[in-house]
Symmetry: D2
Subunit: 206 residues, 4 copies
Amino acid sequence: MDSTISQLAQCFENLPGIGPRQARRFVYALLKKNDKFISDFTKLMLDIKKELIKCETCQCFFKNNKQNKNCKICRNPQRDKGVLLVVEKDIDLNNIESANSYNGLYYVLGGLVPPIGAKLPEEVRMKELFEKVKQMTMSKNLKEIILAFSATKEGENTEQYIKSILEPIVQKYPFKISLLGRGLSTGTELEYADRDTLKNALRRRD
Amino acid sequence: MDSTISQLAQCFENLPGIGPRQARRFVYALLKKNDKFISDFTKLMLDIKKELIKCETCQCFFKNNKQNKNCKICRNPQRDKGVLLVVEKDIDLNNIESANSYNGLYYVLGGLVPPIGAKLPEEVRMKELFEKVKQMTMSKNLKEIILAFSATKEGENTEQYIKSILEPIVQKYPFKISLLGRGLSTGTELEYADRDTLKNALRRRD
Amino acid sequence: MDSTISQLAQCFENLPGIGPRQARRFVYALLKKNDKFISDFTKLMLDIKKELIKCETCQCFFKNNKQNKNCKICRNPQRDKGVLLVVEKDIDLNNIESANSYNGLYYVLGGLVPPIGAKLPEEVRMKELFEKVKQMTMSKNLKEIILAFSATKEGENTEQYIKSILEPIVQKYPFKISLLGRGLSTGTELEYADRDTLKNALRRRD
Amino acid sequence: MDSTISQLAQCFENLPGIGPRQARRFVYALLKKNDKFISDFTKLMLDIKKELIKCETCQCFFKNNKQNKNCKICRNPQRDKGVLLVVEKDIDLNNIESANSYNGLYYVLGGLVPPIGAKLPEEVRMKELFEKVKQMTMSKNLKEIILAFSATKEGENTEQYIKSILEPIVQKYPFKISLLGRGLSTGTELEYADRDTLKNALRRRD
């Protein structure tokens, strides 16, 4: 086996969900593409790191146009500056935006809090969130923080963790900390719903 | 192939989710069991139709003890007689009971309303539900009807259908018709949540 | 929950591949069936143990007509009495018969040999196979024994085990012990084929 | 959504088995990588098209060292020049090599023959194979051609197609055309084996 193939396959294995077999198929798929495809592809890969920068306020990636340090959402005067929705990652933010049901601001945390005992990964911007909330309470009439994480163990850990670190601020500047509503999600069959989901669905009935 | 095997396999194929191959495996599995197992099994199958009868009030199956025409839940004086939760089938009722979060009465509808155009299956007790609700409004201070169906197309059709037939009664005797809360169910990842689920999760946040 | 329901559900859980949830669904499915279905179903379950007996020569189940102690295949004068194909279970025998490619006799072993160290399950008729082969070598001009087991660890263990116990007989009465051919099976993609399958496919090319 | 993200995601969607969601996850995964990773990755992508060239004799990709126009296998004097194994693609060739059971030459066809009626895709080097075989019959004492395709409809079409175009040559220069052996592949359970696999497994028993 050729070593360049192996090296390139290893790069592909760094992408989420890609194992050795599929990585190798990717390499052979590239070999079949014409030169223009490859040069466009690599150019975009190099460009994206320059073109996309992190918004200074919400930490989401956005197109670097050299005039702004903030993303479109943060610059939009129509968005409600009193509500902050915290998500794990950019894709979650995009998914919520595409649901067209939220008009406040965002904060991209960068990761979730692992099970108790494990160390907080450095990509999780917990201190930065804390600072941001403190500023918002003072200057911007913060009304609500929505913790919008996956309904998983890690998501719940993160909710608990953030609630505990924000507690001292909440007591001084009264704003609300809310969680996404739990209940039946599209497609859930009552027969197979777990106890927690049923409890929440009953409690939040309307 | 022996015809008794085929006939018995066909009986097993009448059970939900069982195809020809698995049905045949069941037959050979029975052939390996001892006589006592088979006689106990068949006795229980014959008994169950005699022992279990439908509760006259909620239509769930319960143990026939010849003294009562109503199930334990309907007879329980502690249950809130002003709330009626309508489910599709017995298993849904059992699942909700095991969540330990509901203390009202039930009604087992017997099936769901198919997509528009299709005929209402005769096992769906829609008229009986209508009559029951009429009686409850007059005699029992009905406060709320909870429509507790799966978050599927058929479940939603059934909600709409019941709301429309109950409308004339609701206008005279004001009770509430509520639906199970929608939102993130246990395990839902934000990245993969559909638009409706996200909308509901945001709307019902707390 | 009613105890008759639980007891009947437990019977269904004894069938291969059925868990508690599906067992309970089966019970409720039965409750919806009419009395005739239940009485036919249970009658067939009781009958099958009487109607089907094990063939004295090959150990497969066949219809008991009180005149014969042997199944149709064993009684068929057209079948080649010099070839014996050993299978694990009745369903394997049926599957091979339906392929219409074999005209010898069968022997149903009743089970497979577990990994080394584990005890030989008593349902595996190894001694009986040994006796049968001994008789066939003396009286019936045995030409070949085909060991037809699944291409799994247990299947291969069983092949080894049988070969070793038959070795002393093979040396006296020369007959052939053969295994099912290995190679690409329908649907196998070359890219995903394991090493053994490729080796066999190359070796048995034609 | 940013257009560079969309464009790069579309490039990833050109890789086999990658849909829009996963493509987008790849983009965000890249954004998290450091500059060195990206520059190595893109360099390898650009290099591979230069470094790897197609072997003039077997059409497999191999490392371009400017001295050779042929891959290692084709140059290896130990390989049996009288046997040619035809595969669909490089990955199949690699998989067979790693099985360590074949010592002849290869030919990478580039694709399979589609169902009857559909046009032969231009990446399928059928003419070139024909020319190659003609030459081998004259100069190199060709003894055997092994058609080594997946056991699928397309694989079988390809076998039939090649056999028919080689027929005129086979009649003049007698060499053998063989197919990979069919039978039970690793893991196949007898109970679920299809008719063709069983027939082949019985026919090729040994």
